[in-house]
């Protein structure tokens, strides 16, 4: 199992996501504050799961997803965002996002969604 890459320009959201990952046993995490930092971290490390926001400075979570998929990588990419319109969700999935969670969410819901990655 490689590292989990947590990407969000909000330090608060990164802490919430890392806490949920730790609670399901995924403790080997890396953090990035935008898509540019995240892509560099992805290229330099063995990453097995990406948890990303959509709206970020420099490079969005959607563009990060496209860049990761363009390398041929099939790792799960989990997007956590306030973008809740159906067409935006479809756009994300078409471009390679494998799981999607809309804000706000409870810690329980996030952990429930993360369980499958912990088991895998």
């Amino acid at each position: 199992m490689g590292k989990v890459l947590v990407v969000d320009d909000s330090g608060t959201m990164r802490k919430i996501v890392v806490r949920a990952l730790n609670n399901v046993g995924l403790t080997d995490t890396l953090e990035a504050g935008d898509g540019v930092e995240a892509l560099a971290a992805f290229q330099a490390n063995q990453i097995s799961l990406v948890m990303t926001d959509w709206n970020m400075p420099n490079k969005s979570g959607l563009d990060l997803t496209k860049d990761i998929r363009s390398t041929g990588s099939k790792i799960p990419i989990f997007m956590i965002t306030t973008e809740s319109e159906k067409e935006r969700v479809v756009e994300a999935i078409k471009n390679g996002v494998t799981d999607y969670l809309m804000k706000p969410f409870t810690q329980e819901v996030l952990q429930e969604k993360l369980q499958k990655y912990a088991i895998a």
Binding site: D9, S10, G11, T12, M13, K15, I16, R19, N55, M56, P57, T81, T82, E83, S84, E85, K103, P104, F105, T106
Partner: protein, 146 residues
Amino acid sequence: MATTYVSEIEQIVQMIFSTMLSMEVQCAESSSADSHRFLGTIHVTGDNPVSLVLSMSGEMARAASAHMLGMNVNEVSEEDQQDVVAELTNMIGGNLKSLIPGTHFLSLPTVVEGKELDLQIPGATLTDDVPMEGVDGTFRIRLFVK
């Protein structure tokens, strides 16, 4: 006449505070933004552009940060409070965006901290002013339509 979103804003804010912070908040009689220490702003651009401003007292920002981060109030830093106000502004704006007819994009949130803060949005009209409160303090959401 511009569409107003007062009840939608109230519902969105209550949902966010309830699910992500385990805090109960409700509409208040009034709340002066002048006494608020943090001012978060986010813009929705597109067919029907709006700007949303969240102003919040220092006490409320500290309590919200503690709840959101699972920390004690005395462990919360200034940076934590600014970041939490930004994230709350982002979530309120993002959820409101989905209710506005048309195609829209959400800006990144910005936060300023200070005393007697006010914000002018040239060419925009204040359409909704929603004062709210919890046991820890007050906050206020204002919506400007361009």
